[in-house]
């Protein structure tokens, strides 16, 4: 981290169980998470100096609409849309404001109501040439899977094993949308979405919200003795390529992680627990390699050895991840952070990673022509 920046801590977290809440408004969906975060932070609404809100498809001014219902209207509200990285981007901007001394107590909200779309694949922009030619997000990941299987010999069962692990972890998380374990056979027998990906290898449509309160570390102690420090924050955008690209190397994640590791001096070997962007089964395998947990082509072995399961060397997605906890896109970054902060605080019950001291969150996403992905945000937390 640059030496002129203040250390920042998370002093409050809030999250709602992910699921389908068609009957709620977006502010009603977010409100319990915001109230929980404020109470945990021991901060009153009037102390909040700014609100950074992340949402992708939940309408204009989600942040103001939530502020209206939670007694915080009037402060600066910054709404962030960055596809699946929306609320992680909001968190980063809040961190910048606190770290540079512009803001003290700052609220981050991630909220999304995907059920308002009525289900199916996410609506992509029709001006995009790939979308006009039939691209859908599961198709993009499926083509990565197809190439990865070709290049490294991974099998359909290997992909299914990612979903089995996600469900096993999600079964232990009261906030997860899917809390039932599954088997490789069941995953492979589920409905085809985009070959080789079946339904249980795709993140579900759902709604959710999460919130965090951050402030300078120097005043965090008086609000929450178990505050968790932000060790690093990095945001990257996709690099436009017109030519050939190896789809098994998610370049935006490789670059974002590499820059964050260099900035913080923390490496993959130092991380005790992490949440990554497992929007589809193949994604988790690619991100093991991109985040440096293992070498090229070694992701299946890492998974099959149990290293990334609870009880393993480096548990990945103890919350159940996007596959099991759910992926209300704009809320996912903040939700990952709530999970990692609580893991570092030792509050995660049956899915607790013992003695976790350093955790990482990784979201990316945004399917648009010429990019691996549009956005990627990676954060490191420590206690």
């Amino acid at each position: 981290m640059k030496p002129n920046l203040r250390s920042v801590s998370v002093i409050g977290t809030g999250i709602v169980p992910f699921g389908k809440y068609r009957e709620l408004s977006v502010p009603q969906l977010a409100r319990p998470a915001v109230i929980e975060a404020l109470r945990e932070a021991n901060v009153e609404q009037k102390q909040i100096e700014a609100i950074y809100s992340g949402a992708a498809i939940s309408g204009w001014m989600a942040g103001q609409r939530v502020a209206r219902e939670t007694g915080m209207s009037g402060v600066p509200v910054i709404n962030c849309e960055n596809a699946c990285s929306s609320s992680a981007t909001a968190f980063r901007e809040a961190w910048v404001a606190v770290a540079t001394g512009i803001s003290e107590y700052t609220l981050v909200i991630g909220v999304e109501q995907l059920t308002r779309l009525g289900g199916g694949t996410l609506p992509l922009d029709q001006e995009d040439i790939d979308v006009a030619n039939g691209m859908v997000m599961p198709g993009l990941y499926a083509m990565r899977a197809q190439r990865y299987m070709h290049d490294y010999g991974a099998t359909a069962s290997d992909l299914a094993a990612v979903a089995v692990k996600a469900r096993r972890h999600g079964a232990l998380n009261p906030h997860a949308q899917y809390r039932k374990e599954t088997t490789e056979e069941e995953v492979l027998a589920s409905r085809r979405i985009a070959d080789p990906l079946t339904l249980l290898q795709c993140c579900p449509t759902g709604d959710g919200a999460a919130a965090l309160v951050i402030c300078p570390t120097e005043i965090a102690e008086r609000h929450n003795a178990a505050h968790v420090r932000v060790l690093g924050s990095h945001l990257a955008s996709g690099r436009y390529t017109t030519g050939f690209r190896d789809m098994t190397i998610p370049e935006i994640t490789v670059r974002c992680a590499g820059e964050l590791y260099a900035e913080t001096g923390v490496g993959p070997e130092d991380i005790d627990v992490l949440e990554c962007h497992d929007a589809f089964s193949i994604a988790e395998l690619l991100y093991y390699e991109a985040l440096g947990l293992c070498g090229r082509g070694e992701a299946v072995k890492l998974l099959r050895d149990g290293a990334t399961s609870l009880g393993g060397r480096i548990p990945v997605n103890p919350s159940g991840g996007l596959l099991s906890k759910g992926h209300p896109v704009g809320a996912s970054g903040a939700a990952q952070m709530v999970e990692i902060v609580r893991q570092l605080q030792g509050r995660c019950g049956a899915r607790q990673v013992p003695d976790a001291k350093i955790g990482l969150t990784h979201v990316t996403g945004g399917g648009t022509h010429g990019f691996d992905h549009g956005a990627c945000a990676i954060h490191l937390f420590g206690r």
């Binding site: 691209m135 083509m143 990565r144 409905r191 979405i193 789809m247």
Partner: protein
């Protein structure tokens, strides 16, 4: 996995990007090719045709006429798509020897005939007075 429905083998009227006239070169009767550009200043190759180089912003752009054969980098059969798309259909990325990667629908009677890295033909077909493109395995 449950058995898939039979693949559709033709482009429906609304499927596939309607190409702008500048994006197509009719090299002979019944033989249309895709047109990209190559920047005369920085060398970047771009498909489709662009009026400004998206990298160096130069307007000195030369035609990049794409050939008829490329290599299928990856593909998938899509079973769930937005309204208006009849499923299942196959999509894929095709690497052209001219140095650009194309994306579009792949028309194959049987998806089992497709292989990663196989040669495919780029079909540029007339749709009324405009054109669309798709890929097909080499006979």
């Amino acid at each position: 996995m449950p058995a898939p429905a039979p693949l559709k083998t033709a482009l429906a009227p609304h499927e596939g990007r309607l190409l702008q006239p500048a994006e197509v070169a009719v090299v002979a009767a019944g033989n249309a090719r895709l047109r990209g550009v190559q920047c005369a200043d920085c060398g970047l190759k771009v498909f489709p045709v662009n009026d400004v180089c998206p990298s160096c912003l130069s307007t000195h752009l030369n035609e990049l006429l794409l050939g008829e054969v490329g290599k299928l980098y990856s593909y998938t059969t899509v079973h769930v798509a937005p309204p208006g798309w009849e499923t299942p259909y196959v999509i894929g990325y095709v690497d052209m020897p001219e140095g650009v990667r194309l994306f579009g629908k792949v028309q194959a009677a049987n998806v089992d005939d497709l292989r990663v890295d196989m040669a495919v033909t780029v079909k540029v077909v007339a749709a009324d007075d405009r054109y669309r493109y798709y890929f097909a395995p080499r006979p």
